[in-house]
Symmetry: C2
Subunit: 201 residues, 2 copies
């Protein structure tokens, strides 16, 4: 009985193997949760043995952390804010980049969001940091002059707004229904000024 697929052991450079496993992890953890993902399945999918995962990441949970960091870094890197322009245009550009990223990589984004709610404090912190990286500039770079002063209430408002944006985009991606992309974009971008206005200081 000769094996159909050659059991050839392929040897990669550590860097390549690591990113291969991380990318695979991002894809697999987008739909399944961590305890629904067995090491055996992951190993077989990657074409490696179980032991190798432990060599690179030291454990299942540590692997999950690495995957989430990978997704978070990718998100932050690919949604860098534009340099100049009008405040409202910059906001719209940021939001557009964010929406397009979620549309293009919603596997990665899903695995990031899942991790935030489903798990230990380390994962939640990674998620919080990523969100802060995206929203923090609203205050630090002060895109609207002094239209949105840095008060406790406005901190809450921006935090709530970002949760809303996430929900809207994920819902829209899952089912674009009758709402065109541009409509979503102006909806999302226009809501922040409206909310700040409604909060009043």
């Amino acid at each position: 009985m000769v094996p159909v697929t050659a059991p050839t052991r392929t040897r990669l450079a550590p860097e390549q193997r690591r990113t291969q496993l991380l990318d695979l992890g991002v894809r697999l953890l987008a739909t399944r949760s961590l305890d629904e993902l067995s090491i055996d399945v992951l190993a077989e999918e990657a074409g490696i043995s179980r032991g190798l995962l432990y060599h690179y990441f030291g454990g299942k949970h540590a692997f999950h952390e690495a995957v989430v960091r990978h997704a978070a870094d990718d998100l932050i890197a690919q949604t860098a804010p534009p340099e100049g322009g009008e405040p409202l245009e910059r906001l719209l550009a940021s939001v557009t980049a964010y929406v397009d990223y979620v549309v293009a990589n919603h596997a990665g984004y899903q695995s990031l969001v899942k991790a935030a709610a489903s798990g230990n404090d380390v994962l939640r912190e990674i998620y919080e940091d990523a969100r802060s990286a995206l929203t923090g500039r609203i205050f630090t770079e002060d895109p609207w002059g002094d239209l949105i002063p840095d008060t406790p209430v406005n901190r809450l408002v921006v935090r709530g707004w970002s949760a809303m944006v996430e929900e809207l985009v994920l819902a829209w991606v899952a089912d674009p229904a009758d709402v065109p992309r541009d409509r979503l974009l102006e909806l999302v971008a226009g809501s922040l000024p409206a909310l700040v206005e409604s909060a009043g200081s």
Copy 2:
């Protein structure tokens, strides 16, 4: 060596045991995730054997579902909307009931929210149904006459708004900081009209 605590086997009526286990489950699953909660810990905490949990719920995941349903039903029951009054006042009353519920039972609410993101489709559906039960009346009971027509865009807006409210309240409960409760309430209640207005149609 005599056991310190008597190993007396206490026999309860099925209904009592069931609710005892569900309440305990709600409390324990508020902070830990499901795979961080071992049957042994749960059993010892409840003063029962592992086997009994399987007798009542049939399995760990089934138990989780029951716990989440328990929390969701409790939420829906305790935030029933008021009967009459002005639309805006009814909205404020609903929001107040919701906020007060989360403040009073945020263990239960946390376990509900955690379940939504962290798991299988059944859990997410329970969560979605609960959210729909809370927000659906906005359309069906038409609290603002025709100020908020039932369009695809407004469905999205209300969905996003509810995500925002959840985030705001949880963040505020975790750290009330310098924002008084009434300020939060008017913030949350006032944001929906503002969002609908900003969405325009």
